[in-house]
C-alpha cells in the first residue's frame, strides 16, 4: 500500500524497477459499483500516458481506464477475465496490467490522492 502512487483519473501504480503494475483505486471501484467485465488488452500492446488502455463494465455503465505511464504491456491479469469482482473485493491486489515503462506521468502519493478524492 505504502509504495503505491495514484493518478487523477483514479488508477494506482506500483513501480518496480522499470516495470509498473497498474490497477483501479478503491475510490474508483466504489464509484463504479459491481464490476461485471474487464475488457483486457493484450501483451505487447503499447500504452500512452493519459490514453485509455481498457474499459471496465458495471451493469449500467462502462468506464475507460487511462494509463498513467507510457510503454509496452508485459503482462495482463487474466484472472480478471472470469473474476472481475476481484477489483471490487481487493482493488490493490487486483492489478490489471504490467507495463515496461518508457515514460511516466506525475503521480500523487497516497495522502495527496486521498485529499484529491475529497
Amino acid at each position: 500500500m505504502e509504495n503505491l502512487l495514484f493518478s487523477k483519473s483514479h488508477e494506482w501504480v506500483k513501480i518496480e524497477g522499470n516495470k509498473a503494475k497498474i490497477g483501479l483505486s478503491d475510490y474508483a471501484q466504489h464509484e463504479l459499483g459491481d464490476i461485471v467485465y474487464v475488457n483486457l488488452p493484450s501483451v505487447g500492446d503499447k500504452v500512452t500516458i493519459g490514453e485509455s488502455f481498457t474499459d471496465v463494465e458495471s451493469v449500467k455503465a462502462v468506464s475507460e481506464v487511462y494509463s498513467p505511464v507510457s510503454g509496452t504491456i508485459t503482462a495482463v491479469n487474466e484472472e480478471l477475465e472470469s473474476q472481475p469482482e476481484l477489483i471490487n473485493n481487493a482493488p490493490y491486489d487486483a492489478w490489471i496490467i504490467v507495463v515496461e515503462v518508457s515514460e511516466k506521468d506525475e503521480l500523487l502519493t497516497k495522502e495527496e490522492y486521498d485529499k484529491f478524492c475529497k
Partner: protein
C-alpha cells in the same frame, strides 16, 4: 372520423385551465409562428368501418396464389393455428422492450427459450434476442468480424437481397467487399483461395445457397481459418434440423432468415434475423440478450443483460446502434417450434426434401427442361428451360400456382414446401408438357 383520444369538452376545459393555457395552440408557443402548418395534405378522417372497406379495395388488387413454388428468401410453410392466437395476446403484442423484469418475465422467458432454440438449430454457443432480418444479421456479422481487418468476402451464390444489404453495411464502415462468383452453382474454391488473404476479416457463404444447392461449408470454414478469417454461415432454419450444423462445420457466426419458422410471407416483412455465434465473440455480438439470474429472494428470473455493450451506455463506442429486436417474430418462432416439435420438424424437413426432389425429377423428364446443377439440394432447385415462357407463366397463374422465380431468360429457381401436394406438383408438370 374515428379518433382514439378520450377527451370530452369538459375534460378540455378543466385540463387547459390546470396547465394555464387558453387553447391547445397556446401549448406550442415555443415553436416559431412561421412554422405552423395550415392544413396537412391528407384525407379527411374515416370511420373504422370505412377504413376496412378502403383496404378491401386495396387487397383486391393483389393476387393470392393457392400454391407457392417460389422461395429465394421467403418461404411458404404451414403455420399452425395457435401461433397467431398466441402472438395476438395483448400482453405480448402491446408491450415494449422488457426493461422492467418484475412485470416482463413472460417476454423475457420467451426470449431465453428463443435463444436456446436458435443455438439448438445452429449448434452455436450463444444467440442474441434477434435482429431485423437475415440481411441485417449479415451486416451486423461483418461489423463483429472487422475488429482489426477491413475486408470481407462473399463466396458463391448468396441471396442477392442479402448481399445488397451487406454491401451497404460495408460502405458505411468503409470495408472492402469482394464477391466470388459461383462455379457450377457453388463456391469456386480456387477463386476463394486466390482472393482470401491475411487482411480478410471474414468469409460469408450460404447453404443451401441461392440456387438451392448444399455447399461444403466445412471446407470453406477451413480455408477461412487458415488465413485467420472468421467464417459466417448463412443457414436455413428448416434445413438446419437435418443438415450438419454451422457449429459442426466450424462457423464462427451463424445467421439465418427466421421467417420460415411460422411467419407469413407478408410481402417481405416483418421477418426475423437470427444471429448466433461462438462464445468468444459474445462481447462483439450486437443487440438485446436475455440472461438467467435470480431475484432478491433467490427465485429464478430472466433479465436483459450484457447491456454495457449497447448504445445507451457505450454511445459512439458501441459496435451497433440496434436497440430493438423482432421480439414478436422471435416469439412466433418459439411457438412454432414448440407446436411443430421435434418429430413435426423432422416431418416438415422430410416433406420439403422429398416433394422438391419429386418435382425436380418429374420436370427433368419433360423435353426441353433440365435441372441446371448436379449438386445436392434441400427444397430449392434451379431449372433450365427453353419452355418457361409467358404461356407457361399464364397457365400456372390460371391454375393458382406461383411458379419458380425467373432469374434470366432460361433459368428459374423453384421451391417446394410441405404445403404442396402431389396432385398440384403433377399439374405443374402437365402444364410444362402442354405448353408448346
Amino acid at each position: 372520423m374515428s379518433k382514439y383520444t378520450p377527451h370530452t369538452k369538459e375534460d378540455l376545459e378543466v385540463m387547459l385551465k390546470a396547465v394555464g393555457a387558453v387553447s391547445l395552440d397556446e401549448l406550442y408557443k415555443d415553436a416559431p409562428k412561421e412554422l405552423m402548418v395550415e392544413e396537412l395534405k391528407l384525407n379527411e378522417g374515416m370511420s373504422q368501418m370505412a377504413v376496412e372497406k378502403a383496404f378491401q379495395k386495396i387487397t383486391a388488387q393483389n393476387k393470392v396464389y393457392d400454391t407457392i413454388l417460389r422461395g429465394c428468401g421467403a418461404y411458404d410453410h404451414y403455420i399452425p393455428a395457435p401461433v397467431s392466437a398466441l402472438i395476438g395476446r395483448s400482453e405480448f403484442l402491446t408491450a415494449y422492450t422488457p426493461y422492467q423484469p418484475e412485470i416482463s418475465q413472460g417476454i423475457l422467458q420467451s426470449i431465453f427459450e428463443y435463444q436456446t432454440l436458435m443455438c439448438e438449430l445452429s449448434g452455436m454457443d450463444v444467440s442474441n434476442a434477434s435482429v431485423y432480418d437475415v440481411g441485417t444479421a449479415v451486416g451486423e456479422s461483418i461489423i463483429m468480424c472487422c475488429e482489426r481487418k477491413n475486408k470481407v468476402i462473399v463466396a458463391g451464390a448468396v441471396n442477392p437481397q442479402t448481399v445488397a444489404v451487406a454491401k451497404t453495411y460495408c460502405k458505411a464502415g468503409n470495408t472492402q467487399i469482394v464477391e466470388i462468383q459461383p462455379k457450377n452453382g457453388i463456391v469456386d474454391i480456387e477463386a476463394l483461395k486466390a482472393a482470401i488473404d491475411t487482411d480478410t476479416a471474414c468469409v460469408i457463404a450460404q447453404s443451401p445457397n441461392f440456387f438451392g444447392l448444399i455447399e461444403d461449408m466445412g471446407v470453406l470454414a477451413q480455408i477461412s481459418h487458415e488465413k485467420g478469417a472468421k467464417f459466417v454461415y448463412i443457414f436455413n432454419p428448416i434445413a438446419a434440423t437435418v443438415l450438419k450444423t454451422p457449429k459442426e462445420c466450424g462457423a464462427d457466426i451463424a445467421v439465418a432468415e427466421g421467417q420460415p419458422l411460422g411467419m407469413p410471407l407478408s410481402y417481405g416483412g416483418a421477418y426475423l434475423g437470427i444471429l448466433t455465434c461462438d462464445e468468444k465473440m459474445i462481447r462483439r455480438m450486437p443487440g438485446r440478450v436475455v440472461g438467467q439470474t435470480v431475484d432478491k429472494n433467490g427465485k429464478t428470473a430472466y433479465v436483459l443483460t450484457l447491456q454495457a455493450r449497447e448504445q445507451h451506455i457505450r454511445r459512439e463506442k458501441a459496435l451497433s446502434s440496434i436497440c430493438s429486436n423482432q421480439a414478436l417474430c422471435a416469439l412466433t418462432a418459439v411457438i412454432y417450434l414448440s407446436l411443430v416439435g421435434k418429430e413435426g420438424m423432422r416431418q416438415v424437413a422430410d416433406a420439403c426434401v422429398s416433394k422438391a426432389h419429386y418435382l425436380a425429377q418429374q420436370l427433368s423428364a419433360v423435353k426441353g427442361i433440365k435441372i441446371k446443377y448436379q449438386g445436392e439440394f434441400f427444397n430449392e432447385f434451379t431449372v433450365e428451360t427453353d419452355k418457361y415462357n409467358k404461356d407457361a407463366t399464364k397457365a400456372l397463374d390460371k391454375a393458382g400456382i406461383l411458379g419458380g422465380l425467373k432469374i434470366n431468360d432460361t433459368d428459374s429457381i423453384w421451391c417446394v414446401t410441405e404445403k404442396a401436394d402431389k396432385a398440384t406438383l403433377d399439374g405443374v408438370v402437365s402444364i410444362f408438357k402442354e405448353v408448346k
